[in-house]
Symmetry: C2
Subunit: 334 residues, 2 copies
DNA sequence: GCTTGGCTTGCAAACCTATGCAAAAGGCGG
DNA sequence: CCGCCTTTTGCATAGGTTTGCAAGCCAAGC
């Protein structure tokens, strides 16, 4: 029933050294092998482990990274979360996680709580920051990296895939496939990723001598995508759709095949964006542009570490991904 | 460039009161409205927010809950995570998250790090604990609740669905559907959930005068499920399968329909377990037994809070869920 | 043997807040 | 105006660690 925590002082007493000696042994500072041995033995016997809270209080570094994530129903984010978790653990950091809607007041409150907890850095996954928040973090000296989302006005560090190029290559692929009536169900038009993919796609169509029949905002949600899909087919008679991410693309395919009785890709071609694991499942077999999660995560963590160590200034990183051709869209000959 | 944190002492100076007064205002202790006003004004002006680390150090409560989760590719867990996050935030707690394989040495290291961080409680989602770890947590006085996983030998608090009853009802449903050759692709047989569902299923079949043709371990993974599905069809000629969770059931359906060219449910019926959102998608339309995530999360958080407040002893909670009948299994007449 | 220089080591202050205790202030009836 | 009771306030300590500083130790070089 001894719930009391063992302190370095008790270890010191048992080992016959000073409390500082214990501290030095456990924080990796210089100490003779002789005392280190004594200390370790005493610690082992008492079951001592350093109190991270006290350490953080004095060093001013908590080794905690705040992670804010919006959409967990989109498989891209659980996967990213898993990778981020491992990458940060390798660097000796831990994740304090928050769920927040992409916009709205949640983010405000959440950032406050993160600052209260003295986190060493913040990663926002698909979450936008208001200027006020950005400024607040800057003033607190806490680095922020935006994962898979940009911020046009502010020069905030961010890691994304090359959305412009991606959209463009998808356009070229669909044009080469001989489609005549091409539509785009975009990601939320308030997000940089949604905008960039749409812009790249439109530019690609133009470059190939084609044009966009229609563009609807799918809001990154299944409901939005379903509604848009109906309109695309019934009103605009499209024969090909670029859908702003895989998560929506699955909803679109469900709607087309189930409710509307169409065949993919015979009646209509679908291309997504992300290449989440589910895209490879037989039920969807989705042609999509891959966002290289591993590279994006590495870049994010690397950038954050640099900023924490004061080695780098804010940067924007874009990573190219390949178009993964599967069975949901007509394949150009040759 | 004033990265220095504002302390309660500075606020006190500006407000013309003592540091304790500031502390009391922000920790909700008694204070006259007059001083409270002065303090809040000064704090506002300086941008002061209490340092949670220092607070935790002295109160001995960090208001952090450690969450260990194994499978993030199974949609059940992102959903649960989201709910847990919200439920805990409502109680004023925060989540420190760790990814760990269901068994193996990860868990060991992770628990240590959680203890180092002085978490107030631990939730393990589908992760088993060795006896040594259990004991360590007990000795540290840190409550642990196991979510969606039990531990047969130890009297550790846990929250699950009623897996025995669930398995039994699925068996009855399949028997009533007129199936003759019923197989079971189980969850990992080292897990209590996997065992209980299998046991309930077998009992249900016996009760209905039927018997299990074959049972194979799908290990909760897609690969395991795919392999098992092949063997079920090719070797055991099953006409109905209960698959230990939805995540595996999707893989089974992909394999049956794609690789083996079978029709579901005409050639073979499939029933899953969990009722993740994806089960309702047209591509799968999976008949499955629902695990009521909301209730399970509420129970988990409630249990943990009780334990933290010393109001309750360890308990095991089981929650009933309905069988959600969709299109992946023959529906009994009447 | 004494000086010089490099490691170790202990002392004590610092990090920032919460809180027990006693003193002060405020309210109220007599 | 006084005494009594309640509330508010300040003082000082505690919580567990890191770290600058100075003292101690030991070996090497003269």
């Amino acid at each position: 029933m001894s719930h009391r925590k063992v302190t370095s002082l008790e270890v010191a007493a048992k080992a016959g050294v000073s409390q500082s000696a214990v501290s030095r042994v456990f924080s990796g500072a210089s100490a003779s092998e002789k005392t280190a041995k004594k200390v370790r033995a005493a610690a082992q016997e008492l079951g001592y482990r350093p109190n991270v809270l006290a350490r953080s209080l004095i060093t001013g570094r908590s080794r905690i990274i705040g992670l804010i994530v919006a959409y967990l129903d989109n498989q891209f984010y659980p996967v990213a979360l898993e990778r981020l978790s491992h990458a940060l653990q390798e660097q000796g950091y831990h994740i304090m996680i928050f769920m927040a809607s992409a916009r709205g007041p949640d983010v405000d409150r959440v950032i406050n709580e993160l600052l209260d907890h003295q986190v060493d850095g913040i990663i926002t996954a698909s979450v936008g920051l208001t200027d006020a928040l950005t400024e607040r973090c800057e003033k607190a000296g806490i680095p922020v990296v935006m994962f898979n989302r940009g911020q046009q006005d502010r020069r905030m560090p961010e890691v994304t895939s090359d959305n412009l190029s991606g959209g463009k290559r998808i356009a070229e692929f669909l044009c080469a496939g001989g489609h005549e009536r091409i539509g785009h169900i975009s990601g939320w038009s308030g997000s940089s990723t949604g905008q960039d993919r749409a812009a790249g796609f439109a530019a690609g169509l133009r470059g190939a001598g084609s044009a966009l029949i229609a563009q609807l905002d799918g809001m990154y949600s299944r409901e939005g995508a379903v509604k848009a899909a109906r309109e695309m087919v019934e009103v605009h008679k499209t024969d090909a759709l670029f859908v702003g991410n895989d998560h929506m693309a699955f909803a679109v395919m469900d709607t087309l095949r189930g409710e509307l009785g169409l065949s993919v890709p015979d009646d209509i071609s679908i291309v997504g964006y992300d290449d989440v694991p589910m895209a490879a499942w037989a039920a969807y077999d989705l042609t999509t542009l891959r966002q290289p999660v591993n590279q994006m995560v590495s870049a994010t963590v690397g950038l954050l570490m640099d900023m924490i160590n004061g080695e780098s200034t804010a940067r924007k990183i874009q990573i190219q991904g390949p178009l993964v051709v599967r069975g949901s869209a007509k394949i150009p000959k040759g």
